[in-house]
């Protein structure tokens, strides 16, 4: 079973040289730490930046330079700043090659819910609805099961949706799964030490799994 950093490490392997990538808040942010040497990527932050760098050294934080998670950051040489309309313009026109974001629930037909728990929590969708509606290539980083052991990979989402029929790949603490265009999860890789049976038990949406599915390579 993977921890958050393990999920981030596995997702980082999906990033190809020359990609522009948008990283959501939470586990997706950690992905930046695992991008392989020699793979040139540019990170977009939807508040208006291309070329996000690491956190600043202590004492060098600049209140005017933050990412979409409101964290103080730095920029890399070749970065550019723009306004929010242009930022979502480039997202809508699919200039961003890969979007990585978190989810509370994903359904077997690629729906995603991640912005609201009625009566309990309303933080808002931020840029997530724009991202999932526009991106050509989305990876969801999420927990496969909640603390009660219930699956979050469902036949259909129970929470208010963020986007419909838009997710094609999910990476959890247990597995890497594709979502098939015709519907249903397909098990691609299992996390180290996790059995196919456990993944089957932990997935309440329709799941296609072969018995000999390979274990993830995290290196």
């Amino acid at each position: 079973m993977l921890d958050k950093n393990g999920i981030a490490r596995r997702i980082a392997k999906e990033i190809k040289d020359g990609y522009y990538v948008n990283l959501g808040i939470g586990i997706p942010t950690l992905v930046a730490n695992y991008i392989p040497e020699g793979v040139n990527v540019v990170l977009q932050s939807e508040n208006g930046l291309l070329g996000m760098g690491p956190f600043p050294f202590e004492g060098e934080e600049d209140p005017d330079m933050i990412n979409a998670g409101k964290q103080t950051i730095t920029t890399l040489p070749g970065s550019s700043v723009f306004d929010s309309a242009m930022s979502f313009g480039m997202i809508r026109s699919q200039k961003i090659d890969l979007t990585i974001l978190g989810a509370m629930e994903v359904s077997e037909n690629g729906d995603i819910a991640n912005w609201k728990i009625p009566g309990k929590m309303v933080k808002g969708m931020g840029g997530a609805m724009d991202l999932v509606a526009s991106a050509k290539n989305i990876i969801v980083a999420m927990q496969h099961i909640n603390k009660a052991g219930e699956s979050k990979l469902l036949p259909s989402c129970t929470l208010p949706l963020t986007g419909v029929n838009c997710i094609r790949k999910v990476v959890t603490e247990l597995a890497v799964l594709d979502i098939l265009p015709e519907g249903g999860f397909r098990l691609i890789e299992r996390a180290p030490g996790v059995s196919v049976d456990f993944i089957i038990q932990s997935t309440s949406g329709k799941l296609f799994a072969e018995a000999d599915v390979k274990e993830m390579d995290l290196n």
Partner: protein, 233 residues
């Protein structure tokens, strides 16, 4: 040039009265019009509708206006990090319209660009789409969203000149330029106000035609919401 300079925040907001619709620039606490917000609190104007990506935190930014119950309705994309806000929302003391961040930005731009409506795929199939016209272009569904209609836009820039030209610094740019274009009356507060000719015309982000009043703000706190650092060496 036409001189847009006013003495300060109080003069700038003199005609913002109860019930008006305001746009407020900024993303989180970054690039927010601190001086205008303080002046609104001091003035005590009520029943405001505020269009702003976020709602501040409990004791800063728009949070200050929420605490004093001056806001009737918030139109935002993300309102986490504000307990008082969540309380007023869950108790229905505050009207809240949550809309996708890109839709928020583009509805501002539409107003500034004289486009009555725009099409976006954001929110198709979700509760955001309820009651809205959808339209298919090239096999993809879009929502039609209307341009905002705001009485005032309050924006914060780094530098400005008395002709109203604005330059923003780093990611404090965010919603400020699109809101500056969208207000019926746009009020800009800047960290440094200079004379016309001191800003390079090629560096200006918001041309002065969009700005009706400008002043140099005082005592910027520029609070950091998430101070993240890495160890040296």
């Amino acid at each position: 040039m036409i001189n847009k300079k006013v003495s300060g925040a109080e003069e700038a907001i003199r005609d913002i009265t109860d019930g008006k619709t305001l746009m407020l620039g900024g993303f989180g606490l970054c690039g927010i019009p601190e001086n205008c917000i303080s002046a609104l609190v001091k003035k005590g104007v009520k029943d405001l509708t505020c269009i702003s990506n976020n709602a501040g935190v409990d004791d800063f930014g728009i949070g200050l206006l929420l605490k004093t119950r001056q806001v009737k309705k918030m139109i935002s994309s993300y309102v986490g990090e504000n307990a008082e806000f969540e309380r007023q929302l869950l108790s229905a003391e505050l009207e809240v319209e949550l809309i996708p961040q890109g839709t928020l930005a583009t509805r501002c731009m539409a107003a500034g660009y004289g486009m009555p409506a725009i099409f976006t795929p954001a929110g198709v199939g979700t509760e955001v789409a309820e009651g809205k016209e959808t339209r298919n272009f090239n096999g993809k569904e879009y929502l039609m969203e209307y341009a905002f209609d705001a009485d005032f836009a309050l924006v914060k820039a780094w530098k400005g000149d008395t002709a109203g030209n604005l330059i923003f610094r780093s990611t404090s740019r965010n919603f400020n330029p699109v809101m500056a274009m969208a207000g019926k009356i746009t009020i800009a507060e800047v960290e440094e106000l200079v004379e016309p000719g001191e800003l390079d015309p090629d560096h200006i982000h918001t041309p002065g035609v969009y700005v009706h009043r400008i002043f140099q703000g005082a005592d910027y706190e520029k609070r950091i919401e998430q101070r993240t650092t890495r160890p040296r060496g």
